[in-house]
Amino acid sequence: MDRIGASVLTISPSRPFRVSATTFGALVWSGFRRYATYRQATIAGSFTNIVFGFLRCYVLLAVAAGAVGNRPGGYDVEQLATYVWVGQGLLSVIGIWGWTELADRIRTGDIASDLLRPVPPVVSYLATDLGRATHGMLTRFIPPLIIGALFFPFSTPDRWQTVPLFVLSVVLAVIGSFGCRYLVNATAYWLHDARGPQMLWTLGSGVLAGLYFPLRLLPEWLTVTLWVATPLPGLLQTPLDVLVERDSPAVQAGLVALQAFWAVAMLALAALVQRRAERKLVVQGG
């Protein structure tokens, strides 16, 4: 038994508050593994994404057919089809919906186990979420894209920087989305049940992130306000606009910079809220 009780000094790191890259990487991998377990759910999810892709695409193409110059919101038909199908692929990568794990753990009191680990909860949940997003990118992103490309004309990027910017933008969208979801879930610290905020989030994020329709269809002043004053367009609209080259190169890069600002802000806010919550935490259920 002496070996189980071996000296703790050998594992106590010199910088205990820093999370090492290996720890972070292992947590990312665990997130990936957890989602990889549910293969049937992955297939069912992709099927649903594809069905809704057809619906959304036909609706938007009908809008385009009736719009002046066939360019609603400044998108041509190829750009619209790409917008819809890449958006369908990105849905489960960015994962704006359906994450209630933190709220559930707060409600049941299991959050206590998270607090007993030497990694701050925001960091460990972020790492796990990046693992989930990576799994989504490898399994859920491609099928809608292939089906979409078979049935509709797609636009292809002309600028060299578009693809790297798109990749960066997707990473930022995942981080921003995580920050928002963490905050929505964290309301459970105060409310004990986050279902109300979750519903509001589900409704609001779908509309204001540009999922139901591109935000460019709204009046310009409203679009700009949403973009500058909220993190929501950065969750879906920005990566899609970057990919379809809706704007000039300068605006394209500017949108990603704005998205980066919001991603960092949401993470910082999530960390702040978590610290606040820990001070008043009540662990439920004995």
Partner: protein, 316 residues
């Protein structure tokens, strides 16, 4: 190693007071607990439901912030220094899981190695030891969600030990386990404690856990410590005595008295009599009895800890 000084935790509850009005009321879950635990001690922390056991444990591990009072573990203040403390303590909550629901047990362990940054050789050595003693090999590849409660608890205890903590906090580790699993967990913890290297703080409702494992018993009720000492001290304090149960061929003569023992229950028309041993040894009492009566059978019954504790709880 562990110090608590006038530790207190209040919770605010809202109580209905009229049709729409709700009143705030403060409830003290832990009400001024002062305790010191030395390295290598095995402390049983018991009390009725809602007595404040788990709340104390949560304050010791940094999950809950105390309302007032002082608490330190390894000289660290648990809430502000929680992440540093987490590297040095192990915690098992019998009613919660610290394993990853969707992952096989061995992957949970691997992940914990990275989270606690344990050198691979140390991790392997500790895991091998736990695998042997807790018999984990049959279900290491099973996802945690498919484990039985007994298997999961063995996994939980392993998970709490892989980073080599010096203090292990266990909150009802045998709750809901079958007899065999309980015994496995108890003998593992007993062996862990016997090394003298590990401090163990255990809350439980199963007093057999305490009798088997702990040399020190702390009883808490309504947030206050009502007993702190050995189990024997508890018996002495509450006057629980050994008893002698005798089966006789003939009832004892009326007015019979046995020096150093008092007569208790008389059953079976006087053919079975129970004596409480007040000061006399069992041998002396038996000798006194056989001198006057024909004894067919006898047994000496140790005092029942459950009775003592039940009396203690009811008194509170």
């Amino acid at each position: 190693m562990i110090k608590m000084q006038e530790l207190r935790k209040d919770f605010t509850v809202r109580v209905k007071a009229g049709r729409l009005r709700r009143e705030k009321r403060t409830v003290a879950a832990v009400d001024g607990v002062s305790l010191t635990v030395e390295p290598g001690e095995m402390v049983g922390y018991i009390g009725p439901n809602g007595a404040g056991k788990s709340t104390t444990l949560k304050m010791l591990t940094g999950v809950l912030a105390p309302t007032s009072g002082e608490v330190s573990v390894f000289g660290l203040t648990p809430v502000p220094q929680r992440t540093r403390l987490a590297l040095r303590i192990g915690v098992v909550f019998g009613q919660r899981s610290q394993l990853w629901w969707d992952l096989p047990l061995h992957e949970s362990f691997r992940l914990l190695r990275h989270i606690y940054r344990v050198p691979p050789a140390e991790h392997e050595a500790r895991l091998r030891r736990c695998r042997e003693l807790l018999d984990l090999d049959g279900f290491l590849d099973t996802p945690v969600r498919q484990l039985s409660l007994g298997q999961r608890m063995r996994g939980e205890i392993t998970a709490a030990l892989l980073h080599g903590p010096k203090v292990l906090f266990l909150d009802e580790p045998t709750i809901g386990l079958d007899v065999v699993s309980k015994q496995a967990v108890r003998s593992f913890l007993a062996e862990l404690g016997a090394s003298g290297d590990m401090t163990l703080v255990l809350t439980t409702h199963d007093l057999a856990d305490i009798e088997r494992l702990c040399d020190r018993l702390v009883v808490i009720d309504h947030g206050r410590v009502v007993h702190d000492g050995t189990i024997e001290a508890l018996h002495a304090r509450y006057g629980s005595r050994r008893s002698l149960v005798v089966d006789l061929d003939e009832p004892l003569p009326p007015g019979f008295a046995l020096p150093g023992a008092s007569m208790g229950a008389v059953e079976a028309d006087g053919h079975r009599v129970t004596f409480a041993l007040d000061g006399s040894s069992a041998g002396a009492a038996v000798a006194g009895l056989v001198a006057v009566a024909s004894v067919r059978d006898l047994s000496v019954v140790e005092p029942d800890i459950e009775d003592v504790v039940a009396r203690l709880y009811q008194a509170g």
